[in-house]
Symmetry: D2
Subunit: 144 residues, 4 copies
């Protein structure tokens, strides 16, 4: 990995204010995956007593960004191109984890998968896939 968990957490916390706001943490970084976490907070509860969708989506996106930073180093200009999330179960009111893997690291696009689960039982609460456009010679072409 080109960056430590702490370095990735700082980069994302500074770069994406909402991540900092919801307490985004990088728990572990290996060559195969990153594990990220949002500590439980009553503020994110929606009707029915469950963590609201936008918090789960924010963790999914930040988890993808974390594994791309781990693989590429300080690639701050990488931007999300597509994200798709299936919501599988109501999450318990507990810490929420995202375990991200790289499906494919290309020159122009990185494809990721994230399993999202709570610390209380490890059952999947959501599953996300997505792609990031990577900076490069041609960078900026797509998102300017």
């Amino acid at each position: 990995m080109k960056l430590t968990a702490q370095e990735i957490e700082s980069l994302i916390g500074e770069g994406v204010p909402m991540a900092g706001l919801i307490g985004f943490q990088v728990v572990n970084v290996t060559a195969e995956h990153t594990v990220t976490r949002i500590p439980f907070n009553d503020n994110w509860i929606r009707p029915g007593g469950t963590i609201s969708g936008p918090v789960i989506m924010a963790l999914a996106d930040a988890s993808m960004y974390a594994i791309i930073l781990a693989a590429l180093g300080k690639a701050e200009m990488a931007v999300t191109s597509n994200i798709n999330i299936n919501f599988l179960r109501r999450p318990d009111p507990a810490d929420l984890y995202g375990k991200a893997t790289l499906l494919r690291l290309g020159k122009r696009l990185a494809f990721c998968e994230v399993n999202l689960f709570t610390g209380s039982d490890r059952e999947l609460v959501a599953h996300a896939t997505g792609s990031y456009a990577l900076p490069g010679k041609g960078f900026g072409a797509e998102m300017e």
Copy 2:
């Protein structure tokens, strides 16, 4: 519509704290679509000077919820089943709008589309589709 713009805004603001946090507003509700807005706020800027992905995703999700509430009335227990977002352009630092339409209102699932754009030029910055599981006799089966 079964609810006014103001009633929908209040329901979502109370029910989904992150929506309140980012200043989510319901601008207009008609039989065909709802228009929602997040006022510009420096807090949501990410590297490159653009609105961060999680804010766009939160508006997309809240816009879908708004049009379902408009169509069904107080269906607080409807839950997102799937959401897919394509990020098309870097948004200007300006108010962000979401215009939602119902693709299909079934008995168990509602499918929605949201066009996301900034007030400064009306060009699409993102496009989302998704489905909500609707409450009903069998409700709870899926997400419990």
Copy 3:
């Protein structure tokens, strides 16, 4: 447009044999959209008397390819990067149409939307979005 409906139909029919196999036709090409069609054929019926999912997906993909060819000319090497389809209603046993629009034509990616409906009632049976990686200086980087 850089190509006529007939030229696009021929390119896709030759280039993607399955499109030819299912009788893919390009009905109309304008600056705003392309309309494509698969004539009804008993072979595509699945249990329940409805057109099978793979046929709908094939038409969605070919419709996106058609509008990219219309915009860019003979870009045979453009390849699908992502496709997302929501199936909304059981299609009638009738001709299936795809109306494609370009959401965003970038330098490296083109984003498209396709409304799919049958000739019998024009109600949406499915809705697709997706992205194509476009050929260019860096082409081949992603999909090699």
Copy 4:
């Protein structure tokens, strides 16, 4: 499992004619996953010498159907609700495999994941997720 690999292959081959047409096979069925295959066939090649997108999508969809049949038995009326595919690499001209797992088997929806790869090198060529609406008391509500 409620059905054997051979029974699942027959059900899908009869029920979804396009699956039969492309030579869809069920290779293996366990409690955790199903492995499916499309034998290599020159007909599916597109410009660039690679297996065309619609064939990959058809295998992804049929693989999801296979694992749902394995879990539920003869659930012919289950219908695809959503499918999302990321195309990661150009497939070699070789047999194409789909390894499907169930992310969540609910009462109304089943969520699946499919890894798609060729027999020649086992690298992922595509990754799909999707949901099927399941038959039940309320069945038909959604797709009629």
